[in-house]
Subunit: 191 residues, 2 copies
């Protein structure tokens, strides 16, 4: 039964879900295998070690996220502030599906997993910060975002607040506090 490409994609999909819900130490090859409908040995064929599997998921996640951010950025119908709102909504959707940001989860599991996973998480946060900084600059042009004293620092703070609030929403199984944090962040950007 050669599903080849489909099998690998399913393994990545399911692993990402488990990773966002339970973290590196919270799922096993068997958990993934059961949900995909294969045997755990098959996963080792695609990903020899657990570290390989998790790094592959991290790369896929960053790539998908980058695509989404590029699409938001390219949408000329949105003001810069609305782009930040859409950015925040990604985190909201994550929490709404009972998950944490993958890289937030990887950051919390820094000790067990490979250094490569940590590095991906770190670079991911840097990507988000840089994207927000760009949008802040555009917002100064289109007038939707006020002039910020330290745009780099403000962008970092928004990323940190969203990561923290998503974690809290996941824990409480309640989005209301995340919504408040998002509202506070957007209000802080308005002219």
């Amino acid at each position: 039964m050669p599903s080849s490409k489909a099998t690998e994609a399913q393994i990545l999909e399911i692993t990402q879900e488990l990773l966002q819900r339970r973290g590196y130490d919270g799922f096993s090859y068997r958990d993934v295998a059961d949900r995909v409908g294969i045997r755990s040995a098959t996963i080792h064929y695609y990903f020899p070690a657990k570290a390989d599997l998790v790094v592959a998921v991290a790369e896929r996640y960053r790539s998908d996220f980058a695509t989404t951010l590029a699409e938001i950025l390219a949408d000329d119908s949105l003001s810069a502030l609305e782009k930040v709102a859409q950015f925040a909504d990604i985190f909201r959707q994550t929490a709404a599906t009972n998950r944490v940001c993958l890289c937030g989860m990887l950051a919390s599991g820094s000790k067990s997993q490979s250094d490569k996973a940590n590095q991906h998480a770190q670079e991911f946060f840097g990507d988000l910060q840089a994207w927000l900084e760009d949008v802040f600059a555009a917002g100064r042009q289109d007038g939707s975002i006020r002039a910020l004293a330290e745009p780099r620092r403000a962008a970092l703070s928004v990323v940190a607040a969203l990561e923290g609030a998503t974690l809290m929403a996941y824990n409480a199984r309640d989005l209301s506090q995340l919504d408040e944090v998002i509202a506070e962040a957007l209000d802080g950007l308005r002219p």
Copy 2:
């Protein structure tokens, strides 16, 4: 060799450290036993199940944290803004010792551990928010903090940002971004 009180305290101390560094699924009774210098069966005498041990650590953590916050609050030599700065410094110290906030870590491990641990984390975040809200009000009196449109929401955002930034600092093994987030938060409170 009856160390009694001392043994239980050591178990809690070591467990807290492991919990903040590796999370619920990242440490075992044997890890704790090895560091305390006892056998894992001894831990079961004090804490029958792992869930009991973790809940006990969470209670101790919340209690210790509450004491620290009460001390800061009672210090009349500090302005309200300086009290917020000391509050933020607790997170900085946590990251400086290569740890995450215990409740931030418990929040990320929501699936494996007991519901009670999740609840403690949730209540902990509520405690921090309420404390900050009080200090914000005091800051309006002593003039060290500006009038905030939504103090409750602002307090929540500060908690979320500190939790997120501590996680990022832990992952990157670098405090500089946490320092930036703290500076940004304090600047946002100044009159």
